[in-house]
Subunit: 384 residues, 2 copies
């Protein structure tokens, strides 16, 4: 159903005539993106078009490239490539996004978990850890964080912008994956780019976004925004890397979504489909577990996930029971670095995919599995 | 005109209904490509679908990624990352493609030029140089080589397939950019994949191709093929890199081009547009320079370039004179590693872009500039 909302994307650039734009999208050139697409992504990311480069289908690819480039060539011109260092560490707010952690593992980056509070990462802990010059980066999902769905407070964003890490080439990897993914009235997270400039740290942050959950996960566009020096370096390195990403698809997105107002209108249609699903999850959890001590959970106002914390030591068992019953969930531990949830309690619920009726059944099953696992655990603890 | 030949690509997948394929192209999944697209690219590359991964708009990006991956993680599981080595060298048949050489420069790879003969690279020289374990790779454009337009002979392909370099992790970077780009009757270059398997070197070659000059340079698809171990490694590493490339665009290419027969029919329409341009270049050069000693040139049966060798020491002067007269050509030296043509004689002519009338004028100008530069040079040599 969500994919069909973007059916217009398939037909909005359907002739040579329709390809007429500020530049020819079908030919070589414009490595950093079609100007109109830069403007569209700038609207989503709350930056200026000249502060970003448009990428291909996957913003994860842009994040990977940023880390890979840092390892082979440094984060900016003249910076030491991280590959030359004995040790590189990243701060990882937890629970967090498994694909961020996977990139770190792939490059041998040591991950330091930082607790995520209701206002964002524990910034006292971040400041303490960033005093180590081996700490080179930090993952952030500022709005409707994956998986807990929380939003960073203005104070947290300002504190991140004002951060003075020991490493000059420290970068905040700001994955704004759910920038416009509101289920109810839009929530505003303070734009980090402006805040970082104001704090005198224009190069501190790399921002990422994509249309994966706006149009098609299998046919969208993405973008990376950065400070002027870092962006120049990205473009210099990109010259060696590519002849440029798909500009015809960039034009499709411009024609279909128009601008940030068009994006918001489109996202309201997604929200109409998703809201009943999120509410079904909330209803099931509240009816079964409110006041029981079996589990606690988040109630996101947007994004794609609900984070469920079950009684400690039960998450893997719950996911295992669900699997035995035929429902595949994100693996327990996936939201922690090295897939190791120290308390074995966090489970990521993705309510977006199944139809509501199936979701209700799946939630009934989840409730049963949680009850069973927690009872087993409590009995074990009581030595029974 | 060439872009308009592929107008049908824009409308062949224009509804949700039209997205029905062996798998859902709009959603996540199928990181290595839509099965139908793998089959299409396999037809172009003369390999099996399971031997390749479909990429995004740019095969250069796949080549860059292959080199970058080799530097950070090695060419295959367990191989030493090239970034850990003091020195990495590549063999570069000359004249060659500047973007290949740029990737090498970007990664600090030392480039060793190898003469390109009418049959392909000088294989005695290749074998001699590949005895150095620091030599890790070799660039090849086997069909309608960039810029000279020649094709590797069967004997050369077999000799490459049988190569036993000192380095276990040596790879041939087989950029089959013009695999189907015949101007006249199709020319067959022996498939390197089969030859390498037959020679007992299934992992020796990485093959690349794209539809940049088939459909849209700004909206095509690409692919990389490799031996089973290397391809597994590529897929393993890709998991960390991306959620997958644009599968909707892959489906568009399948619908529009159908299969290798469809591709060949489509390329005949390109050839009809390009042939007069290539012939205008040949006519201009033959009329002015045949038997003069001012210049020699290639007469490609396909591809995108004509290689012009002017009297030694004159190439930079010719390109400079052309620029002064308002015609921008590929920089002199671009076809050599480090942009240094030791004899300053090679110029790459790209006849594809301008309309025939403009091309004829540009060629008249080029002829004049060559005459002027060569006369200057000869006078200088005669001490006049």
């Amino acid at each position: 159903d969500q994919l069909d909302l973007s059916e217009g994307l398939l037909s909005c650039v359907s002739s040579s005539e329709a390809c007429k734009a500020s530049a020819e999208p079908r030919n070589y050139g414009l490595m950093d993106g079609l100007p109109e697409a830069k403007a569209l992504m700038a609207g989503i990311m709350e930056v200026s078009p000249e502060e970003l480069v448009v990428g291909g289908n996957s913003s994860l690819n842009l994040m990977f490239d940023a880390v890979s480039r840092a390892f082979t060539h440094g984060v900016t011109e003249g910076a030491t490539p991280w590959g030359k260092l004995a040790c590189v560490k990243f701060l990882c707010p937890v629970p967090g996004y498994d694909r961020h952690f996977s990139i770190c593992e792939h490059f041998g980056i040591e991950m330091l978990p930082v607790p995520l509070t209701a206002d964002g990462p524990d910034m006292a802990e971040v400041a303490r850890l960033a005093a180590d010059p081996a700490v080179k980066g930090m993952w952030c999902v500022p709005k409707y964080s994956n998986p807990d769905g929380g939003c960073y407070s203005d104070a947290t964003v300002r504190t991140i912008a004002a951060l003075t890490p020991a490493a000059q080439d420290f970068r905040v990897f700001w994955d704004n994956a759910y920038a416009v993914h509101d289920l109810y009235e839009p929530v505003s997270v303070l734009p980090i780019g402006a805040a970082a400039k104001q704090a005198g740290h224009p190069e501190l942050v790399l921002q990422f976004a994509s249309t994966s959950k706006v149009t098609f996960p299998g046919g969208g566009i993405s973008a990376v925004a950065a400070g002027p020096e870092t962006l120049n370096w990205i473009k210099k390195c990109m010259f060696f890397q590519t002849i440029g990403h798909d500009k015809v698809n960039q034009l499709r997105h411009v024609r279909f979504l128009q601008d940030i107002d068009g994006v918001r209108a489109h996202m309201r249609r997604h929200a109409d489909l998703l809201r009943p699903k999120f509410e079904a999850v909330q209803t099931a959890l509240a009816q079964s577990f409110e006041g029981t001590g079996f589990a606690s959970w988040t109630s996101p106002r947007g994004g794609y996930f609900v984070s469920l914390d079950v009684y400690p030591g039960c998450a893997a068992r719950v996911v295992g029971l669900m699997k035995d019953a035929g429902v595949l969930m994100t693996g327990a531990g996936a939201t922690w670095p090295y897939k190791k949830d120290p308390k074995d309690q966090n489970i990521r619920i993705a309510p977006t995919c199944p139809p509501v009726a199936e979701l209700v059944t799946a939630m009934e099953l989840l409730v049963l599995c949680v009850k069973l696992a927690v009872c087993e655990k409590r009995l074990e603890e009581l030595g029974a």
